[in-house]
Symmetry: C3
């Protein structure tokens, strides 16, 4: 049983500070989502300050969208510091199959660092496991989850190999560590029609993991469920994808433990 109330209160009482090295496309949404959820964001990607910033934070979020060489350098410095301090590190291998540069970058990161949580869509997780596969942009394919069994096997193997929580997002989200498998059925198809749903989830993983570093699997499952629930609510009220994106942040800023306890569609499948 995930103790939603305990996880939630830790966020509200601690207001974790999250160091994000993330992509330019959705940086604003990520910062606003972190604030809406009760955390504080700090975006810093100059290598000269990466270690110092990481050292003052509660969690580090690395998102590989619109990656460049200098940002990769900052990521490595920040994550070494975060590892030394035992901080949760969230890695999103955005579009990892799309280029050799991203593939090599993720290889470098995974060799250099201890990652606590990896979040990706099915294509990205498959690429990480299988080092092959083709990407359709950086957004999830509709058929991403057709072969769930094989995906779950890949995710479990990855989780074993790098000793991290693996969160695979799609129509259904799966969250796995070396021992347990959760299925999260919160969410709405509108989330695939905007850019940044995944990046905002990365930020939210930072918030929940940063405030709850002792239970990363539960924190990851809850973050995915809460964002999915906000998506469900925002979809009911929106006039299209523009107002859906605004509504997603509105809903997060109005979240309560009562809504969470009533509306999580989470199942332990272990």
């Amino acid at each position: 049983m995930i103790d939603y109330q305990r996880l939630f209160e830790k966020v509200q009482n601690h207001h974790p500070l999250i160091h994000c090295i993330t992509n330019y496309v959705t940086m604003n949404d990520v910062a606003n989502m972190i604030l809406a959820a009760g955390g504080s964001p700090i975006m810093a990607q100059e290598p000269k300050e990466a270690e110092e910033i990481a050292a003052m934070c509660d969690a580090l979020v690395l998102n590989m969208g619109v990656l460049d060489e200098k940002k990769l350098e900052a990521m490595i410095l920040a994550v070494r510091k975060a590892n030394a301090l035992g901080l949760p590190v969230i890695l999103d291998p955005v579009g990892v199959g799309a280029s050799k540069f991203r593939m090599q970058s993720v290889d470098t990161l995974l060799q250099e660092i201890k990652c606590s949580i990896i979040r990706g869509n099915a294509s990205e997780i498959k690429v990480l496991c299988q080092r092959k596969g083709k990407e359709k942009g950086v957004d999830a394919d509709p058929d991403d989850l057709i072969d769930t069994a094989s995906l779950l096997a890949d995710a479990a193997a990855l989780s074993q190999q790098i000793e991290a929580v693996v969160l695979v997002t799609g129509v259904i989200d799966y969250c796995i560590n070396q021992r347990e498998v959760y299925e999260i059925r919160n969410g709405h198809s509108m989330m695939t029609r905007i850019t940044g749903s995944g990046c905002m989830l990365d930020g939210l993983l930072g918030v929940y993991a940063g405030a709850n570093p002792d239970c990363l699997l539960d924190a990851s499952v809850m973050a995915a469920g809460v964002l999915g629930f906000c998506g469900e609510q925002a979809a009911k009220k929106c006039q299209g994808t523009g107002s859906f994106r605004v509504g997603l942040i509105d809903e997060m800023s109005q979240i309560t433990i009562q809504k969470i306890e009533r509306r999580m569609k989470i199942e332990n499948k272990s």
Copy 2:
């Protein structure tokens, strides 16, 4: 006669993938506009991956806002690959008159590459033709279109010279290739009161041209008309410029071929 239905269905059926090397200011809006219109965006500007990303896409969009040297390098690599593969390339010479750096950059681009569609406001198109003129920021001047005849002559000359579609946006949009001239009267003045209307149009040109590479003039005219129509609708419902920007994306995400066929204000002036 532009066959709106055929162009529209190609977008909806093909979901073109658009490689954008664009400015930081409006990157999120461009990505969300592409998604709202039925395409998929991929923003990638690291020179090391520019060619690979371009090669997997249906169109390439280059927007010179907030340009820097490294981004220019990525543009050149991406566009050479796009040219080799025959992909549509859209160029937006944002603020081209504002500095020698931007002027030299556009010179370099136009010497190196084959551009399919150039989109700019009247100041920018004039500068490209005349290599002079003064800019007022990067947004359109109210008096941009005072001398329409001279502007059209410039645009036609530019179109001849670089063998591309030229789309000049303003109170009225003009879309020109070497043989035809279209006038597009869709749009709303609110579009000049937000940043990114032009950049979002660049993305939309990518979507329509990417799905319809065999009829770039029609695709360009239609993209301008559809965005203008969305602007008209969003202006009716908004509470100011903030909600207008949100509404513009809402309207695009709800567009139908019926709305398009009824509401395009497009005239062939050739």
Copy 3:
């Protein structure tokens, strides 16, 4: 007495062009806020064009969020040109206490340049004065203003030392030059729950100072008051922090001199 009407009409008649070298997180909001207030933004950070862009503008806004070495180089070039031309320069030392890099950067800037207006939260202003203090992210602490007397003494000392207007934002804003102290009570706590309230204020300071370079203190006080009033109005209508952010720009785009004259909560405390 601040002559709101005169300051406002200068903005509306002149439409000042504002050169912003600002952070990636809130760049879009800053550009849209400048447009909503009646100015024109130009974001340009390539060192090769920094001087030319500055030379065509009415004010220069420097925001140190997500700073990197190249952007610092562009800032120095732009500000030297702005100083040579006598343009107002607004500096926001975002998160200045967070790293040695930011501390050294602000030292470099303040040695190299004449700054007209410095805006920061209490932590940042304290750091600038005292070269110590710890940061909580880059957003204001709730207890930022506990010791108002000491903060005001710091701000006054800073103002004397660098001969600039100092605007300290928080629950109450204070605006100080070498002779006068204003207290601004407009604003709403929702402004601390989004990212970018401070950055948007920087842009607005550019607009008001750019159109009114002869009365920078009055322009700064008014900019803070007007944004605060927009925040009050947006807070009444929003459904959460997402729509609050949209509403803040809506309100600015609908501002009138009547609303301003009726609703400013500004007091001269000198």
